[in-house]
């Protein structure tokens, strides 16, 4: 529990709570000595004839009230409640969460651990492991990559043969474990005209419609502006730095001239978050096997995503 900002509140709350609880007890005790006259009403009348009598309460009921007072004091001694006092049990919601997670890991960790010892390609071929992998994927990955793993704008398709960072089992697992950060720097300094020339050149690489005159002007720019440093002289990309292949028909953000101009002008900054600390190695192993087996893995036979 994070503490109060001001030292005033902890004693203030302690005093308020204790006064309230003990006050209730004192009031109950005083009521035990109170007397009433049988048959007298409290003077309250509703609906013309409905009167309130001061009928006695059973004694055991009063003892239940006392019980709540003792319970409250016992609770406040054991659990947090009196300002910053943590209670004898030292309970915290964070601690309970950690205990429950540890208990869950002890139970379910065994299921995952079996697969961690196996080779990733073996896991990918195991239907049971694929089922677990798909569930993990739908829970943790589908938000960006889609339920069918086909991705979306800015999120790569995992079922095709095109890989930004490499599609071998090891590379996929590495990507999920440590995350990736792909940066395309902005080239706005080139000016709008040269950027448009570059865009036309890039489109020509994939065999898309383009302005040949602009593409011809763009070709020398591609090398001189530094594009080749990442995308390579042949524009086939570099999986070492996550630079995409520009000569295929697969486009992360879109292939229209306007989109390519936007990409060159503003640059792109892509992050795949690391899952090692969040999911742990065993779950990542299953996920990597699922992704590898979903059709896109290099050396893997293409199979459709099935239930």
């Amino acid at each position: 529990m994070s503490d109060f900002v001001s030292g005033f509140w902890s004693p203030y709350i302690t005093v308020m709570v204790l006064t309230g609880v003990i006050g209730c007890g004192v009031f109950l005790w005083l009521q035990g000595r109170a007397r009433y006259v049988a048959g007298q009403t409290m003077g309250h009348v509703w609906d013309e004839t409905l009167e309130e009598y001061n009928n006695p309460l059973p004694n055991w009921w009063r003892w239940m009230f006392f019980l709540t007072v003792f319970f409250a004091l016992g609770y406040l001694a054991l659990y947090p409640g009196l300002g910053s006092y943590r209670g004898q049990f030292g309970w915290s919601s964070q601690g309970q969460y950690n205990r429950e997670m540890a208990a869950a890991d002890a139970t379910y960790g065994k299921i995952f651990a079996v697969y961690l010892k196996q080779d990733l390609k073996t896991v990918a071929a195991d239907p049971k492991a694929r089922e677990i992998g798909q569930r993990l994927f739908l829970n943790y990955c589908a938000q960006c990559h889609g339920s069918d793993a086909k991705g979306g704008k800015g999120f790569p398709n995992l079922t095709d043969k095109d890989w930004l960072w490499g599609g071998t089992p090891d590379k996929i697992e590495e990507t999920i474990l440590n995350g990736r950060n792909g940066i395309m720097p902005p080239f706005a300094v080139l000016g709008p005209e040269p950027i448009q020339d570059l865009a036309n050149y890039v489109r020509s690489l994939s065999g898309l419609s383009h302005d040949p005159a602009r593409a011809a002007k763009g070709q020398p720019l591609f090398a001189s502006s530094g594009c080749t440093a990442c995308h390579g002289a042949d524009a086939r990309g570099n999986p070492m730095m996550g630079a995409p292949n520009l000569s295929d028909k697969i486009w992360l953000f879109g292939s229209s001239e306007a989109t390519i101009v936007e990409t060159i002008t503003q640059g792109r900054n892509l992050t795949m978050p690391a899952q090692k600390d969040f999911l742990g190695a065993a779950k990542v192993h299953l996920l990597a096997a699922f992704v590898y087996g979903s059709g896109g893995g290099v050396d893997a036979p293409p199979t459709p995503v099935t239930q």
């Binding site: 006259v37 004839t49 309460l57 889609g146």
Partner: protein, 472 residues
């Protein structure tokens, strides 16, 4: 009608100051036989055979009635209710409420007097008490006696029997949530789980405490229904009443003397109506909030009237209006069919009919469509527009089925890859489905489409679920 009767104005209570807290005085109800007692015992047998027996009934290789909380499935004979069916629970509660309104408006606290678990278990516990300790006088004497070996053995025997019944009740109760045969073997092998142990003991303790010790105090101080039901009473509601005109002035008399000449009424003031009362009230003081409408006093008084050769019914079911206007049986019965009763009855019949129709047409298949949120739409290589969905397909039936997944709503729309999924009995599968359609088949933005899921092996099982399809 006075809601709360004033405490009896006897001489020693007037103007004497008392503690605000009442010390409990044990009530020792006297055994009673007769028409109404037989009815009550019939209902005790009926409800308890149902309660103790139903959980042992097998059905389709499982327990007929089982509320599986961990799996979130309620099995009731051929039906399986899922959390999505909570609607039927609401209907059940509404039906229960209207049944209560209807019967209370007709006959007062009929539920309290005959069918309420508190009454039923108190009746069972009282029967045990009577078998072991004897009837009212023997019990009063025993309770006043100092502790002796005999008293100790009788009390031990009684509490032992009570605890046995209470534990069996707790065990049966838990048996509706954990399969009772599993539970039984767990009990026998002493491997009962901590929560099952807790609930068996808790429910057993509640039974023992409420039926053995608390009894009428549950009705007087704890039950909310006992308080709010008075609003359902009206002057034509049947209530247990003492005919004061006929009975008063009460008094003991010689059987031979002409009591009418002595100016006495029919009440012989034997006090048996008070002795049999489980809440310890005197019905001759009029309708009181403590009265649970059990009619024990009617049975008792009728027997006394028979012995005196007076007509029965000095204490009887009557209505406020009937007493006031000297109505006979025919007029009382004639007033049962009044607008209030007909409205309650009509609503009850309507709700039951609607629920029955709903249950009869209930599909043993449920589908939830969840559209992918991360990606709106994708253009495929051939120019078709693709959207992806997750279908949560729930097979609510008790047999495995194969389902085909189809889609309609746009020209040329289809599910990619022919989709047939097999789902085992009473399970849910999440199926990822990609749907594509030509870009010119609809308007830009959202288009209404329908997923059609039907069982391959049973044409009657088919569900049509709306979804939206995005076009650029």
């Amino acid at each position: 009608m006075s809601e709360v009767a004033p405490p009896p104005q006897t001489q020693d209570t007037v103007a004497i100051e008392q503690s605000l807290y009442e010390v409990h005085h044990k009530i020792h109800p006297r055994a009673v036989t007769g028409w109404f007692a037989t009815w009550r015992w019939s209902l005790v047998w009926f409800t308890q055979l149902l309660f103790y027996g139903l959980c042992w009934l097998p059905w389709n290789g499982r327990q007929a009635v089982l509320f599986e909380l961990a799996e979130r499935k309620f099995y009731i004979f051929g039906l399986i209710f899922w959390p999505q069916d909570v609607f039927y629970l609401a209907i059940l509660l509404i039906v229960a409420a209207y049944t209560l309104f209807l019967f209370t408006a007709i006959g007062g606290r009929l539920f309290c007097g005959y069918a309420c678990p508190q009454t039923v278990y108190t009746e069972i516990f009282l029967w045990i008490e009577r078998k072991i300790e004897g009837d009212r006088h023997a019990r009063i004497r025993l309770d006043d006696e100092p502790l002796s070996a005999r008293k100790l053995s009788l009390k031990t025997a009684k509490h032992g029997a009570w605890i046995a019944v209470a534990l069996w009740t707790g065990f049966t109760f838990v048996g509706y949530f954990t399969p009772i045969r599993t539970l039984a073997s767990e009990v026998l092998s002493l491997s009962l789980g901590p929560w099952e142990t807790f609930w068996v003991l808790f429910y057993g303790f509640a039974t023992y405490g409420n039926a053995g010790w608390m009894r009428e105090q549950v009705c007087k101080y704890m039950c909310p229904y006992a308080r709010f039901q008075s609003v359902m009473f009206d002057p034509d509601t049947l209530i247990v009443t003492y005919d004061a005109k006929r009975g008063e002035p009460r008094g003991s008399r010689s059987k031979k003397a002409d009591y009418k000449a002595e100016g006495k009424g029919d009440c012989v003031d034997c006090g048996i109506c008070v002795q049999v009362c489980p809440t310890g009230i005197d019905i001759r003081d009029g309708l009181q909030y403590e009265c649970i409408g059990c009619s024990a006093c009617i049975d008792a008084c009728d027997q006394v009237m028979d012995k005196m050769h007076y007509p029965r019914g000095l204490i009887r079911y009557s209505t406020e209006n009937a007493l006031l206007k000297n109505w006979g049986r025919k007029e009382i019965l004639g007033h049962i069919l009044r607008p209030r009763i007909m409205i309650y009855g009509a609503i009850l019949v309507l709700i039951i009919a609607a629920a029955a129709a709903g249950l009869a047409s209930r599909q043993p298949l449920k589908v939830d469509v969840i559209r992918d949120r991360g990606t709106l739409e994708r253009e495929e290589d051939d120019g078709m527009i693709e959207n992806s969905y997750r279908l949560q397909i729930m097979n609510v039936s008790e047999t495995a089925h194969r389902y085909t997944i189809g889609v309609s709503g746009l020209n040329g729309i289809e599910v990619e890859h022919q989709r047939i999924v097999e789902i085992p009995a009473a399970t849910t599968h999440s199926v990822v489905v990609e749907v594509h359609a030509p870009p010119e088949s609809g308007k830009k933005g959202f288009n209404r489409i329908y997923f059609e899921i039907s069982a391959v092996d049973d044409a009657k099982i088919a569900v049509r679920e709306p979804a939206s399809f995005l076009l650029p």
